[in-house]
Symmetry: C2
């Protein structure tokens, strides 16, 4: 009848998850991502590989893994990416190896990606993925947030709106939806979703041994 200490520490005994946050620009995704990373020690941004030139202040291996196009293309061919995309003339990809190793140790990864990246990631790692979409509180508010400067032309704003609406049109490919009408409430909801998803039985791999202990026959 030895005492059994509960071996269910969140970080050590569960499988990590891939937490996707998508939204049209102007719906608060960047703010929510930053707060989540600052607030929670078990989630980190996935570090992408990119062919984009390094900018002043960026650190290779921290902000991105910087590489050239031939190397990137080889990695694509070798299936080293969970998802990748070509955006504004540069390539970006999520390296598979780092994610795979992290998930096993209970590390969660945050992805600030659009619906296409979300689809790719979901196809590769369905059971590890949690998809959250943020919506702006209203059409007027979305327009206001996309009007960065008073001097923006009507055409520029209309083009931003069209892009935002195209992103919104894919909202139904997500597991959770949060309307961001108050940044604090929205953040609290995102935190609740992350906390709950960590409690999914299938992720709590450490509980398998624990339940075996609970099931020991009486002596």
């Amino acid at each position: 009848m030895a005492s059994t200490p509960p071996p269910h520490d969140d970080a050590l005994h569960r499988r990590g998850l891939l937490f996707i946050l998508s939204s049209p620009s102007g719906a608060g995704k960047t703010t929510i991502s930053r707060r989540l990373l600052a607030h929670d020690g078990h989630i980190q941004m996935s570090v992408s590989v990119t062919t984009r030139p390094m900018r002043p202040g960026e650190v290779d291996g921290k902000d991105y893994y910087f590489t050239d196009q031939p190397d990137f293309d080889t990695k694509v061919r070798d299936g080293q990416f969970l998802e990748w995309a070509h955006v504004f003339g540069h390539s970006y990809g999520t390296p598979k190896a780092q994610i795979k190793a992290g998930l096993k140790t209970g590390q969660d990864f945050l992805f600030d990606i659009d619906w296409q990246g979300t689809q790719q990631l979901y196809q590769k790692a369905e059971t590890d993925v949690v998809r959250v979409f943020l919506l702006p509180p209203s059409l007027d508010e979305l327009r206001r947030r996309l009007t960065a400067r008073a001097t923006d032309s009507a055409e520029v704003i209309a083009s931003r709106m069209a892009r935002a609406q195209a992103e919104i049109s894919h909202w139904d490919g997500y597991d959770y939806v949060v309307v961001n009408d108050d940044i604090d409430v929205c953040f609290a909801k995102v935190v609740q979703i992350l906390a709950a998803e960590r409690l999914r039985r299938a992720r709590q791999t450490g509980l398998i041994g624990f339940v075996r202990e609970l099931m020991k026959p009486e002596i």
Copy 2:
């Protein structure tokens, strides 16, 4: 360009859910259920139909719908129950009509049932069901909690343990598992699960019209 008020009030614009809390006796299920009902205005206990005689202080239609065996059997035959069981000589069933109407208005229902009831409910209403299992923090603690009185015989305790372990053996039929080593922490986790599940896209039926508003083309 009329202003669009966000029509996403939690209670009015989402489909309710069936929140199942199961655990071996001695794992805190009753305490957690009571706190949840007191804490949260949008969830209520599902009121069962039973053939068990009314006890002093009980109210028909509040604690149970009391009926006789022939009427109960007719209801079973007519498919009026989401799940039903025969326990210690009496029948208990969950009436389908009340649940069906409640779900549409965003009413959540709490079920304090065992794994067999959970299975029945899941088969009938899979997408509305959220299954949570509570585990005791250790084998020793489970034994301590099942030893209600110092005068309990070893046989009585062993039989309670066996029943608890039989229930635990079905833990893998649940969506979420929470270890109850601290009642406050456990309660907070159950609240997080409920909050997150309410944010599932598929439950937020009110968002369909809201997104349609957001997608309106620019004029």
